[in-house]
Symmetry: C2
DNA sequence: GCAAAATTGTACCAGTTGTTACATTAAGGG
DNA sequence: CCCTTAATGTAACAACTGGTACAATTTTGC
């Protein structure tokens, strides 16, 4: 094994376009998510890169082109993380509980992604809507949920007529808000919710709430 | 009654500083919430005002000064709306249901406010934290909730140990997300949730979910 | 009425920022 | 070994944008 082999057996010596692009994208996600779309400065992105501003325009055309690719990169990364989750053959209620807890933690450990989505929403998701890459990346969480719902209904553990997308909406809302609105919420109501214990309690509350949600309704006593 | 009396018995003729400031703030909230903090252009705000850029700097100092006042104005407006809600002497569960439904609708009809809060969160709530005006505006929803919880627990309708702030967190998360993430969510999963029927169903789901949340836990059958 | 203070109009500037022209070096094909 | 193409460095521009100097006008206190 020669020393060159350590760098991935790609190009031999200098000039590694793919690594340069990855480098730019990594920094771009960070800067965009820190400063917003118009707040982010190409100069800053360039400065935090190992390459130059020139190369950004060479590979990504303009600021919006870079932003779109950065958004796609952010989505791709969390998607890859989601696929790590294997619910195996857990019983439906446990599977749901685990999925909810996972989503909560996953969002929490990917604040950059959350911020990119926030920025996208400020701009009416125009870039997202224009990106075929992301649209084709159909969120795997839905598939998992659909399966869980089907099994839960079949076994009588869940009530009938559950909408997996609605469930996903609810799980997302709570997990997303926990990260996205932390600054304003903690500024108004204190940091308590965001301590380690606070987050654990919150996660349990959310899991419980979702489980209660899918359980069959109490049949009213006559 | 002279014709001058029609304009509110304020100043007699020309030059009405307070109206000018209100005009600027109204437009500022709109433009900031449309374009974000750095995306908003003072020139655009000025153009959509009945006055000039000169006056913006005269009354608000600089862009950040204007932004802070706009943020405060946005909070003040929704706060005023919230105070309209009177839960009177409704039984606790009905009061909670009505509070949840109201919050859901209220957020929905104040997208500008939601967007301002989103922008604030992107910028780590630094302006919010610096605004004594807003911090002193302690959200009245919490007070209402605290009262509901107390009554509910006393009557045995709710389980013990409810945390009003945690409940508020949950209500906010669902109602906020519904507005804030509509663009990305509908781009990925369709507009269905945001039609009139979709929103009605969602609101009912949220109300039910919250009510189930506060009900006393089922005592496990021996 | 008059002077001081408050309010507004006009024009402009200085710094920033996205973007590009031009030149140069490295890589691959034959 | 040469030539075409891909990749990169240097430097600068043109437009935008937040902010202001200066002067004019209106209002108010006395």
């Amino acid at each position: 094994m020669t020393s060159e082999a350590a760098e991935g057996a790609r190009r031999r010596w200098k000039q590694n376009p793919e690594a340069v692009q990855e480098d730019i994208l990594r920094v771009a996600v960070a800067v965009f998510s820190e400063s917003g779309l118009s707040g982010a400065r190409i100069d800053e992105i360039a400065a935090r890169t190992q390459t130059s501003k020139r190369m950004i325009y060479y590979y990504f055309g303009d600021k919006m082109g870079l932003y779109m690719r950065a958004l796609e990169a952010a989505y791709a990364k969390v998607r890859a993380g989601e696929d790590q989750l294997d619910l195996g053959t857990l019983p439906p209620d446990e599977a749901l509980a685990r999925l909810v807890a996972f989503t909560f933690d996953h969002h929490r450990s990917n604040p950059d992604f959350i911020r990119m989505v926030m920025i996208e929403n400020i701009h009416n998701a125009e870039t997202l809507a224009a990106s075929e890459v992301i649209r084709n990346m159909n969120v795997s969480a839905i598939e998992k949920l659909r399966d869980i719902c089907r099994r839960g209904e079949a076994e009588g553990l869940f009530r009938q007529g559950l909408d997996p997308v609605a469930l996903h909406w609810q799980i997302s809302a709570l997990s997303f808000f926990n990260v996205s609105n932390r600054p304003t919420f903690s500024a108004l109501f204190g940091e308590g919710f965001f301590s380690e214990e606070g987050q654990k309690a919150l996660r349990r509350q959310i899991v419980d709430s979702l489980l209660a949600e899918v359980r069959p309704r109490d049949t009213p006593r006559p």
